[in-house]
Symmetry: C2
Subunit: 241 residues, 2 copies
């Protein structure tokens, strides 16, 4: 039986989602629990990797498990066995061709900035700065990112193609926080953190929004600032139904 | 020159306030920074110890430092040098007989309980339970704790005298959290956590509030439950002026 699960994790003490030798990862903790239940190795596939320190409020995974258990009982048992920084929110049975990454139709990422004196209680959960940010300028610039673009200047890697599609960007202020919501498909490594880094340069009036035309140009190579992992949350993975 | 500083720390990654050999402590991190600035050993005295995992939003400390620096500059420099889980909120010069512990006229401790499905993002910052709690019953019982009492059943140790004085207890519900505020003088080790453990037994209707008369009786020895450190915050230390 194949299962789809929605999970939440505090990324502070993980070297990211993906299994790495001798490093603590979310995938490894999930596989450890499922392999105990199955009494054999169980592989977990995520909808996407998250880097070290990045959090998830709605990561999706799939795995195969052939033990007689209902989804709600399985959720209960996994949550009793998992470490305190990972929890399963939801489990359901899916067809045995379902694939958490390949079937995803989009993702929602959130980035949280806190503008105040540095607060230790938010150190791992927001990016704290004390700059003045012009939200209107960032919002106006963010419109240029909507749609299909070549995002090679916003990622790290050596692929031929970095086409992504951003459906929507929302920027809002809530008390001393500025929250950036990105909805789209085709997010590459560091892409959200580099897009935020670029928008911040615009919001601080160090860069003009016209820089975006250059950065989205397939034939121009430029480097942009990457904001820290701690402010980033994978909020939701979307599927057709 | 003697200084009083108010500090805040996320206790998650400390073995408590007090210096311990080969363990990370708040006191040691503060002394490390001040000793670099003074170019000699500087001792830091706290208004009280906090145990491993206990947080502070307003711990008070004093120390002597003889370098030409204003309090605001000293705060700035310390905050640049301290690790991200400790910050100085306030510094002022005090008379050279000032003592953070001996001069304190009282303290405010807060304990935060979260009643919901277990949330990894609150694992180190609240005590998460899913029991039904009768707040009215706990409030009524808490009145019996007000005033001077012998708290030997609420602490760990072998002193002759455990007299403490609780000025006020407030219990309030905020969304899915229950917040307990204790104001008083003479808090012993585990005392707040044991008082909360006792109030929870009453709130769950497992114990009747009449148990408090036994527990506050100098001649009766009884054991009470201790709630986890992660929900406890030292909010403020009070001084005469």
């Amino acid at each position: 039986m194949r299962y789809l699960a929605v999970i939440i994790y505090d990324g502070s003490n993980f070297y990211g989602f993906q299994r790495l030798k001798n490093k603590r990862s979310v995938q490894q903790e999930l596989e450890k629990v499922l392999s105990i239940l199955a009494k054999k190795d169980v592989a977990v596939k995520g909808a996407g990797r998250t880097d070290a320190g990045v959090h998830a409020k709605g990561q999706a995974i799939h795995f195969d498990l052939d033990i007689p258990v209902t989804p709600s009982k399985l959720k209960y048992v996994m949550n009793r066995m998992l470490p305190e920084d990972i929890r399963v929110l939801e489990i359901k049975e899916v067809d045995n061709k379902f694939h958490a990454r390949l079937r995803a139709t989009g993702k929602w990422y959130r980035y949280v900035i806190k503008i105040s004196e540095f607060d230790p209680f938010y150190a791992k959960y927001t990016y704290q700065i004390d700059d003045e940010l012009d939200i209107k300028l960032m919002e106006k610039a963010s419109k240029k990112l909507i749609g299909k673009h070549d995002f090679h200047n916003f990622t790290a890697g050596y692929r031929d193609d970095y086409e992504g599609n951003i459906f929507k960007i929302e920027i809002k202020k809530e008390e001393d926080k500025i929250i950036f919501d990105f909805y789209g498909k085709g997010f590459y490594r560091y892409m959200v953190r580099n897009l935020i880094g670029t928008l911040l340069m615009i919001g601080k009036k160090k860069w003009n929004e016209s820089i975006l035309e250059e950065l989205l140009n397939k034939d121009i190579d430029k480097t942009v600032p990457t904001v820290p992992a701690c402010g980033l949350y994978l909020m939701k993975v979307y599927y057709q139904d």
